[in-house]
């Protein structure tokens, strides 16, 4: 019955002996975090801690901060956060870190006193996207980037990685790279945002297709999880599957299916399951036996991303299903 459902997922004090409370705060409610939560839950079960997994429903820093404040009041003993606005929340995060162990996951605030960062380097991941584009259009061509919003750092870093590779330069952090200009043999038609609305993402892609009718050297690149499926849908509707190259990011099921059929060149996956699993495990250890936790000097625990193409997608999909218990 529905009454039992609540349990297990949420902190429940069993008898008088309560388990350590830990929390994971994502940066938005996207499905990406579902995979992460699966990992986190698994770790919580294994390490016997109480886990609150919170997703700021509106994806704003303000909401994220409120959630963390409330968690602190609620005597949470360790928190992992995917920081929404890393450069500017140092002070707040330091305040948290002064009270309890704090980990950054997925989005790092490297200048803060967080214990460790677990995640993927977004510029590096972006570079892998660039490599996929190069492979798809070896002679150069036009590319259009699609992303939900451009002000979050991860979006800008991925974009930067892509453009750096196309231009053939080393990545040295964010720099100015304008729409409309050429990067190596590739012209960047534009970076199109949709405010995290897949419907609009599809319309954007359809408009770019219409504007570039007949182009044979076109690559459409989705930088957030739902972008590649939205692009694929628009390309399918315009009957240009195969004629237009698509590169995606993250492991949306439609993206994976698209790679299988060859409609999508490939995607970059970050391994969110590990994000969740590792961070909760580390939090549990930091509470119970802090001396045993080994963290590198810079605190960065790289959980490497993977490039998926037709060759390895099937294996990945099987693995993912297993992890999610489907």
């Amino acid at each position: 019955g529905p009454e039992q459902k609540k349990q297990g997922g949420n902190p429940v004090t069993v008898g008088k002996v309560s388990k350590p409370k830990v929390a994971f705060v994502s940066n938005n409610p996207a499905e990406f975090w579902t995979i992460c939560e699966a990992g986190a839950r698994k770790a919580a079960e294994e390490t016997d801690v109480d886990l609150q997994f919170k997703r700021p429903q509106d994806g704003t820093a303000a909401t994220q901060i409120q959630i963390i404040e409330d968690l602190l009041v609620n005597k949470t003993q360790a928190i992992s956060v995917s920081v929404i606005s890393p450069d500017n929340q140092i002070e707040f995060l330091d305040g948290v870190a002064a009270r309890i162990p704090l980990l950054c996951v997925d989005n790092d605030a490297s200048k803060s006193k967080r214990r460790a960062y677990l995640g993927t380097a977004n510029i590096k991941a972006g570079r892998s996207v660039g490599e996929l584009i190069k492979k798809a259009l070896p002679k150069g061509g036009k590319i259009a980037l699609f992303v939900g919003q451009l002000d979050p750092v991860n979006a800008r870093e991925r974009r930067q990685g892509v453009l750096d590779v196309l231009e053939g330069v080393e990545s040295k952090g964010l720099r100015i790279s304008r729409d409309g200009e050429k990067y190596g043999a590739y012209q960047l038609l534009g970076t199109f945002t949709d405010n995290v609305d897949k419907n609009k993402a599809k319309d954007n892609a359809a408009d770019v297709l219409a504007k570039n009718q007949g182009a044979t050297d076109l690559a459409l690149v989705g930088l957030w999880a739902y972008n590649a499926p939205a692009i694929l849908s628009a390309v399918t509707d315009a009957n240009r599957v195969g004629k237009v190259k698509i590169v995606g990011f993250d492991e949306d099921n439609e993206t994976l299916e698209g790679i299988k059929t060859g409609a999508i060149e490939g995607t970059i996956v970050q391994n969110p399951y590990e994000f969740g699993f590792q961070s909760v495990k580390m939090m549990a250890d930091l509470i119970r036996k802090p001396e045993s936790v080994k963290i590198p000097e810079d605190g960065i625990m790289d959980i490497p991303h993977k490039v998926l193409t037709k060759e390895n997608v099937q294996a990945f999909q099987t693995e993912l299903k297993k992890l999610l218990g489907k």
Binding site: K5, G190, D207, Y226
Partner: protein
């Protein structure tokens, strides 16, 4: 509706306040369209026109719905959430093997019930429409999220061990479950007939029905009357409550249908953001089309034109190469200019009428 007494047919037509109100938005549509096809050769293609028509159709259906409610002097802020809940429920039904026609029926019934519920709260309990539908905005989105938590496969498994949890840990996007029997449903969104995309046909038919309902039928007169002066309409024997309920019902029903189209468009729906802001866009369309939020005013032709503005604007932004970061400003300014033009034209026509 022009005063037949006026000698000069031409002046009479343009000085009619309703026509004046439509003229502004008509002008805006013409300007935006001209800009679009002027700026880019590829904007003149059939493909682009089909894309546009499809989007106008999709928006139009929602705009039409909220138009009814606004005419009664109400508002519906829950449209986006109803779209979301419908899309998500439709997806879940499909994923679990339901017959798509049955699924449609279920979703539309649910959406209709939501509308009746709104109508009930607004009429019988006398709550403010803004508040009722604001609650709806939260509740239906929450319901959509909750639905995706349930593992129906497990739930319906007859061999399920007692006590097995059937709730997932977190919500998820729903899709169409890899169904291959949905051709006719995809056609609803992606198909075309005589070169015109199906959503546009659907919108056209619905708009025609709405026009008959609003402008030619007895019921339409009742809606306008109660929107302008509910008391007077009641005293005149109009069952005002019933017609208000009908307006909310139609609005939610159309939003539910919009949800089905939504799922058919992008093959998936995310409970946390599918349909976000749709209510604002729909209301904007209706209002631009001359539907007054004070109630009692509005035309179907205006709504059609109003529904065309946002799709046109968004396409224009891309074709004109305006950076995405400036899209909001562009939309806002266009709306403002459109409204201003509308108001100035109306004043003109009023002056003309006075002088005539």
């Amino acid at each position: 509706m022009s005063p037949p007494e006026s000698k000069n047919m031409f002046t009479a037509f343009f000085s009619n306040p309703t026509v004046g109100r439509i003229l502004g938005v008509f002008l805006l549509v013409v300007v935006l369209y001209t800009l679009m096809i002027g700026i880019e050769e590829n904007a003149r293609t059939v493909e682009n026109h089909q894309n546009l028509a499809r989007r106008i159709g999709e928006w139009g259906i929602l705009t039409l719905g909220v138009g009814f409610v606004i005419i009664t002097g109400g508002i519906d802020l829950s449209i986006g959430s109803v779209v979301c809940l419908s899309a998500v429920s439709f997806g879940i039904l499909l994923e679990n093997g339901a017959n798509p026609y049955v699924a449609t029926l279920v979703v539309l019934t649910g959406a209709g019930l939501i509308g009746l519920f709104h109508g009930y709260l607004v009429t019988k309990l006398n709550l403010q429409p803004f508040v009722v539908t604001l609650c709806g905005l939260f509740i239906y989105r929450g319901m959509a999220q909750f639905l995706t938590l349930i593992d129906f496969k497990k739930w319906m498994d007859p061999n399920l061990a007692a006590g097995t949890r059937i709730l997932r840990d977190s919500s998820r996007d729903v899709g169409v479950g890899g169904r291959t029997d949905l051709t006719s449903f995809f056609w609803l969104q992606k198909g075309e007939w005589l070169g015109i995309p199906t959503p546009m046909w659907l919108f056209g038919i619905l708009a025609l029905l709405a026009a008959i309902f609003l402008h030619a039928s007895v019921y339409g007169r009742y809606l306008f009357a109660l929107g302008y002066n509910e008391q007077a309409a009641r005293y005149a024997g109009v069952n005002t409550n019933r017609f208000k309920v009908i307006a909310y019902f139609l609005c939610s029903l159309l939003a539910g249908f919009g949800g089905i189209l939504f799922l058919m468009k992008i093959n998936s729906a995310s409970p946390s953001n599918a349909g976000n802001w749709f209510e604002l866009y729909a209301i904007t369309g209706a209002v631009l089309g001359g539907t007054s939020l004070r109630g009692g005013e509005g035309t179907v032709i205006g709504i059609i034109l109003g529904a065309a503005i946002l799709p046109l604007l968004k396409t224009l932004v891309i074709f004109a190469g305006i950076p995405s970061d400036m899209e909001f400003s562009a939309i806002g300014l266009a709306l403002l200019l459109g409204t201003l033009a509308d108001e100035l034209l109306r004043r003109r026509s009023e002056a003309a009428r006075k002088g005539a």
